[in-house]
């Protein structure tokens, strides 16, 4: 028989203090993350410029996706958005592929016990270094290197030392500018990806590599048969984060420019959103369009993320699960029939 005191102690729950202590985070999260998200969603149903604040239903979405809406220039808005979307994918693809290849190669080299590369620590630091420079500084650096006229480094070099006649307009012609952005993004991020892949490779049981070695596998066989399959979880993570980052690419494309205006050839969806949102007071900005474009890119990201997960799911595991279920069913069915006859 428990005493009154014991009963009271039982009824005391310390859970509420736990909730109190974690409450600040959730409050801040709600106000700075959830509410802006919801507000963006609300804004996407409201009007632009003179029409700001008015409820317009799905107008912004039809404008962006179908080119039909209240704005007289709806078709042009659709065209600009589609161009921005296309450029986003071009820029992302063009920096992701070389970046992952380079990082993978370096990660394998740096983790290979047989190679015994000297100065690993030094190279790791140097390769990670670009990532700690702010994008604004990087953009300023590259604008000064690849500026359109002979005053800038690369053109001046080509014109004075290699006898080129006219400067190459790296920044204002579409493809040179895009390739430049791809290069900068690769240069900025390959160190980061490399570190991540290295940690993935180092997480693989070394005895597997030894076993492969003893069995006489060469290094490419080890890479394709051992490293890559076991690296898959990290690869999926890298792919998904890089995709989200790529679809939101903003700083370098926005800042790599010659004048006061961002370059149209580098306009990504994020730049489209920002340009529509940040055009001065509400009655000259397009809050609605910016909100709708944000929601669309959110949906695209969600879909692509799901596809990546689906494609990279562990097929063996799923097949095994199915087998197990089938076996279970068979067993049950047989049990119903009257048990196993051995």
């Amino acid at each position: 028989m428990a005493s009154a005191a014991q009963r009271r102690i039982k009824s005391i729950s310390y859970a509420k203090y736990g909730y109190m202590f974690i409450a600040p985070f959730f409050l801040v999260y709600a106000f700075f993350q959830i509410w802006p998200l919801i507000y963006t969603f609300i804004l996407s149903f409201k009007g632009n410029q003179s029409n700001c604040g008015a409820w317009v239903g799905l107008d912004n979405y039809t404008t962006i996706v179908l080119g039909q809406g209240l704005a007289p220039g709806a078709a042009n808005i659709k065209a600009e958005f589609l161009q921005a979307l296309g450029q986003t994918f071009i820029l992302w693809f063009g920096n992701f592929v070389p970046q992952i290849l380079l990082s993978l190669l370096l990660a394998v080299w740096f983790t290979d016990a047989k190679l015994k590369l000297p100065g690993k620590g030094f190279f790791k630091v140097v390769m990670y270094m670009p990532n700690i420079i702010t994008a604004a500084s990087v953009a300023a650096l590259y604008v000064n290197l690849f500026g359109d006229s002979e005053r800038y480094f690369v053109n001046s070099l080509l014109m004075h030392n290699f006898g080129m006649e006219d400067p190459i307009k790296f920044l204002s012609t579409p493809w040179p500018a895009r390739i430049l952005v791809m290069f900068i993004q690769t240069w900025l991020w390959f160190g980061n990806t490399m570190i991540m892949l290295m940690s993935g490779i180092m997480g693989i049981n070394p005895s597997l590599f030894e076993a492969a070695d003893i069995d006489g596998a060469n290094s490419s066989q080890i890479f394709f048969r051992v490293t890559l399959p076991l690296l898959q979880p990290i690869m999926v993570y890298t792919l998904v984060t890089s995709m989200i980052g790529g679809l939101q690419m903003f700083d370098i494309p926005y800042l790599l420019r010659t004048g006061a205006q961002y370059s149209k050839n580098l306009e990504t969806v994020a730049v489209f959103v920002y340009a529509n949102f940040n055009n001065g007071p509400a009655n000259v900005s397009n809050y609605g369009l910016a909100g709708a474009a944000s929601m669309i890119i959110f949906v695209i990201t969600a879909i692509l993320g799901s596809i990546t997960f689906y494609m990279n799911r562990d097929k063996d595991e799923i097949a095994k699960k199915k087998q197990r279920k089938r076996a279970e069913k068979q067993y049950k069915a047989k049990m119903k029939q009257g048990g196993l006859t051995l």
């Binding site: 409050l27 029409n51 600009e80 006229s149 307009k169 204002s172 205006q261 007071p281």
Partner: protein, 472 residues
């Protein structure tokens, strides 16, 4: 003990959530501002009455310094510091030096006039202590609204104070209710500034009069550009940027960008045709936009004959000095057409709490003839007072060392008289101008004029959901 822990935890939570709430408030409040405006101004005026005794002493001294009639409005400083927002201190620096009050300071928003046009929205809505803000002609209409500004009558200034001012500065800053919302200290008449050494060596032009004759209209301007190209083999451009030519070409014609919600492309098309000729012939480099790195350097490098400069480019430390050097080998003439470029207005921010000093500062630079004259002579800015400017020109007391001693005021007073922009400005102007010049820069070299105009309209209508394209 447990009570103490509980109380502490609760306190921590409250403190954290309180910070979260206050941080959020800044944004949401701006939308309420317009509704609570009347209340707060009422509050302020009642507060003013209670402290009227203190302020009367202040005002008598204000009166002396400004030499104008004291308005019936009670003006007090609730906060000693007068904060003025601008995108640079090219003008405000010398103004604050001359005004000599340590309590006047400036804050930066935006890096140039164009970026300020968008950044002000955030900055002015941030709840900072802002008393006055500077707005430029291209986008002043976006900010002299109830959301951001108060009429200058709040500071006791009326249109009568500006009878000697250039009329357009009053017209531009008057809103649809007839309230004056901003006061300009300058009249931004533009001219054609050129490098006298290049003119002499390459074209044999010795005096400003000869130069004016050589660029008297656009035909002559083109002819001279051709001569310059022949003489230098294309090493020296006639002018640095198409943007500068556009400024001269467009404002002289006084055509509105927007008519009944439709973009007017007539002037833009005419200009694009002219620009095409210039670019094809190599008279101007289309890749350079105003305010580009190269735009700043071509003058000093001797790679262009001249710039289209407005009065505010000619002040100390401004573009004439930066782009063209301090050797005094530049002169200014009227150029192919009389035009204007820019011009800045001091507007009263909603959050003003330094009314007495603000009123005095504005009077000092936009109303008081004597101080304005002094400012014109010390800074080289073309002040917004016809009488003061006429006196300076008559006395021949101004000479600009950057222009080799030439008096730019004498050249530009007539231009300033003729400025008219009241019916042609709209809140879309800055955006349309940016759109047009950007398209021109990217495409004029490789595409025909029809495509350039079509692309410009496509860009402009996609950025401005209010506007429609002209019918083909």
């Amino acid at each position: 003990m447990s009570k103490l822990t509980r109380t502490l935890a609760l306190l921590a939570v409250l403190a954290m959530s309180a910070t979260a709430f206050t941080a959020c408030n800044g944004g949401s409040e701006s939308s309420n501002d317009s509704s609570s405006a009347t209340e707060s101004s009422a509050d302020e005026s009642s507060a003013d009455e209670s402290s009227a005794d203190e302020s009367s002493a202040d005002e008598s001294s204000d009166e002396e310094s400004s030499g104008e009639e004291t308005p019936s409005v009670d003006l007090t400083d609730d906060d000693p510091t007068l904060t003025i927002v601008c995108w640079n201190n090219n003008d405000l620096g010398p103004m604050m030096d001359m005004y000599g009050n340590e309590n006047v300071k400036w804050e930066q928003s935006g890096t140039d006039g164009t970026s300020a046009s968008t950044e002000y929205a955030t900055f002015l809505g941030s709840g900072k202590d802002i008393d006055l803000f500077v707005a430029e002609a291209g986008w002043i209409l976006n900010y002299i609204t109830d959301e951001y500004a108060l009429p200058v009558s709040e500071l006791g200034l009326t249109k009568d104070d500006y009878k000697d001012a250039y009329q357009y500065t009053v017209d531009v800053a008057t809103n649809e209710n007839g309230d004056l919302m901003g006061c300009s200290w300058q009249a931004a008449a533009g001219g054609w500034a050129y490098n006298t050494d290049i003119a002499k060596e390459q074209l044999g032009i010795e005096t400003p009069e000869d130069m004016q004759a050589a660029v008297a209209d656009w035909d002559k301007f083109e002819e001279t550009a051709g001569k310059l190209k022949d003489a230098t083999g294309g090493d020296v451009y006639m002018t640095c940027s198409l943007g500068g030519m556009w400024q001269c070409y467009s404002t002289a014609i006084d055509s509105a960008w927007v008519e009944d919600g439709v973009i007017n492309t007539a002037t833009a098309r005419d200009f694009a045709e002219m620009a095409k000729k210039y670019v094809d012939n190599g008279y101007v480099n289309p890749a350079i936009a105003q305010w580009d790195g190269d735009w700043f350097n071509y003058g000093v490098d001797g790679k262009c004959l001249g710039y289209f400069f407005s009065t505010w480019c000619l002040t100390q430390g401004a573009q004439l000095e930066g782009n063209c050097g301090t050797e005094g080998n530049w002169n200014i003439v009227v150029g192919p057409q009389e035009y204007f470029w820019g011009g800045s207005w001091l507007c009263v921010a909603k959050t003003i709490n330094t009314k007495a000093t603000a009123a005095d500062f504005i009077r000092y630079f936009t109303v008081n003839k004597d101080t304005m004259k002094e400012y014109a002579l010390s800074s080289g800015d073309f002040v917004n007072n016809k009488v003061a400017m006429a006196e300076i020109v008559e006395e021949k007391s101004n000479s600009n060392p950057l222009l080799g001693g030439q008096d730019q005021f004498a050249v530009l007073t007539e231009v300033a008289d003729g400025i008219n922009m009241s019916d042609s400005i709209s809140k879309y102007d800055q955006s349309l101008k940016d759109s047009f010049l950007n398209t021109l820069k990217d495409e004029i070299e490789s595409k025909d004029v029809d495509t350039v105009i079509a692309d410009f309209v496509a860009d402009a209508t996609s950025k401005n959901t209010d506007l429609s394209a002209p019918e083909a």
